[in-house]
Symmetry: C2
Subunit: 358 residues, 2 copies
């Protein structure tokens, strides 16, 4: 599918596979995000997937991208309404499929897509396959928090709606690797999400997972702080919060919705009177500073963990800033050889079942 | 336990049973909240539960409360650390037990407590018992939202960690009654919390519950909007959000934590420079206006639904404003004969099992 007339990326650069299609803002926003990233980071280059006729003119217009983009022609587009099962059956030839394929073949270290999350997860599962020792992959996000880094890792936020005790232990290991390679926290504090911090509370699988994670903490190089509550997702009790994909998905969407409601109310409050309008002008830089700190675009990107290859899911509505943040994260994980380290860590921790047998 | 020397409340007033103890701020904050409420609402009076020696001086100091408070002497206090099971066995003689008892005996229409939620639920279950037709009671809260009333009803937020399809149907009926009597929404829109809005998504019991609630909507007088997501808890797609107590508890705590982090960041942003400090002075009234709109103290009070009697759980850290908001809600529910109407509604809706049998 590669056209020999394409510019070849420089050899030493980290190659990132980018799905140009499927985001709400179209390929122009994706290319703009690549430009932003390429300007900041001279060590990255891209394989861009989508209809060549549409992408080539967008790329050629950007001097920053000269010699740093290979286009893989793919005519098909996965839309937000496509069902994952359909995409698995008929997705070959789409830009999403092609973007994952470049990771599977080893051409690129990591893939980035703004497309349909369910379809991206399903295709990634089928093509990249699960890492040995992992039964359920997970999607991890960075959630704004009051800890030193300013963010906690939360997983799973929706790869699967279920997780048993063994899966939750794997999530802890994956979260630990992600906190180390994505946030630079060497010895993260890990908490298990529950409705109370007392050990007798919560569902049976959570009590089981509690003991399993506790018993592996020392060997795996993290602190287990036990059960944590919803409020700790944005707090400083843990750096990594482990939960099943149903609960995690509800939690981040509740948090995002609440933050957005506060934003609306804040704007209303400042529009109320002439004095408050004046205050809002003076407060502008303060409010922009706040926005930078809690702007979801700046930590844009859920990471699929537990597959043979790293896939970064950017928000569907991501603009250039959002895409650039996702690319930054992808480059960071690729540079750190994140997935190999994660695989080694998971392999080093036998499933509970096997351990009990030995 | 009543001392005949106590002032008798006026006959026509709505009697509210108030647990003076167990909150973080002690009985003085509770009495201050009663004063606030009594000033605004001339039609309420109180039975106050706790150590008479401590409470009588606090009450006597308040002219507003003259002839409006009966003290029920109870020496014991349920603390935040007491386990619910302990309190059920040994709780007799505590102010919490006494407060619930006044509702059980019919003296008061509704009880208010700032104490230990788990213990309050367990004692309420044992003493008031479940309403006929209800298998699991629920705790409902008002969550700030962008709908016309400014709040959605969310339940269950932690009475139980489980809920099957039949329970979720009961939650919908309870939520409907609460939206009507607590928020004044006659024909509320009800949504079922899930990880996506497509009908094929989510756990099996949710798909079952989806169809069950849909089939009862017309008769029960609500609109069923189907599955909703975490972001809709603060949104305008539904007025009532139904979920199990595990998910609901994580959701509200995540939302509260996120709101509190934004508050911290907002204060930091305004302290950053001299100009931003000046802006914060000018913005003061705007920020206070915002705070009033999203202040959790102003909608303080989870309501226990599905018992033979109404219990309002005020936040453990509630101050006078918080206690007063909980009392206001209690008075509103008592005046509307809320619990009788709810019982009639639940009784009118046969459990799915029985329906299938007929």
């Amino acid at each position: 599918m590669t056209d020999p007339s394409d510019r070849s990326p420089a050899k030493a650069r980290t190659l990132i596979s980018v799905d140009a299609m499927g985001g709400d803002q179209g390929p122009a926003a994706v290319v703009a995000g690549m430009v932003k990233s390429a300007k900041i980071n001279p060590d990255i280059a891209f394989i861009l997937h989508g209809p060549r006729s549409e992408l080539a003119p967008l790329v050629e217009r950007q001097p920053t991208l000269a010699d740093r983009v290979t286009i893989h022609d793919a005519e098909g587009v996965v839309t937000m309404d496509d069902k994952p099962s359909q995409v698995v059956r008929q997705g070959k030839g789409t830009s999403m499929y092609s973007a994952i394929e470049a990771v599977r073949s080893g051409e690129a270290s990591v893939a980035v897509s703004c497309g349909n999350t369910g379809a991206l997860m399903a295709l990634s599962m089928i093509r990249l396959r699960k890492m040995p020792g992992v039964n359920r992959p997970a999607i991890a996000v960075l959630y704004p928090s009051s800890n030193a880094q300013g963010f906690n890792v939360l997983l799973d936020v929706g790869a699967d709606i279920r997780a048993d005790a063994d899966d939750l232990l794997r999530f802890a290991l994956m979260g630990k690797s992600y906190a180390r390679n994505g946030l630079g926290v060497d010895h993260p504090r890990i908490g298990l999400l529950n409705v109370g911090t007392e050990e007798h509370k919560g569902r049976t699988e959570l009590k089981e997972a509690h003991d399993l994670i506790r018993d592996h903490a020392a060997d795996a190089g993290f602190d287990f702080v036990g059960f944590v509550e919803g409020g700790d997702i944005s707090g400083d009790r843990a750096d990594v919060i482990v939960t099943d994909g149903f609960t995690g998905n509800i939690a981040i969407k509740t948090g995002e919705g609440t933050a957005s409601l506060i934003g609306i109310r804040l704007r209303e409050a400042f529009k109320y009177s002439i004095l408050s309008r004046l205050a809002s002008v003076l407060a502008y830089t303060s409010l922009m500073r706040l926005r930078r700190k809690i702007d979801p675009r700046r930590v844009n990107g859920g990471v699929f963990l537990g597959l043979n290859g790293t896939v970064v899911k950017s928000h569907g509505s991501a603009d250039a800033t959002g895409v650039s943040a996702a690319i930054k994260l992808a480059a960071q994980l690729a540079d750190n050889g994140f997935n190999d380290k994660l695989a080694a860590r998971v392999a080093a921790t036998l499933p509970a079942q096997q351990e009990n047998d030995t």
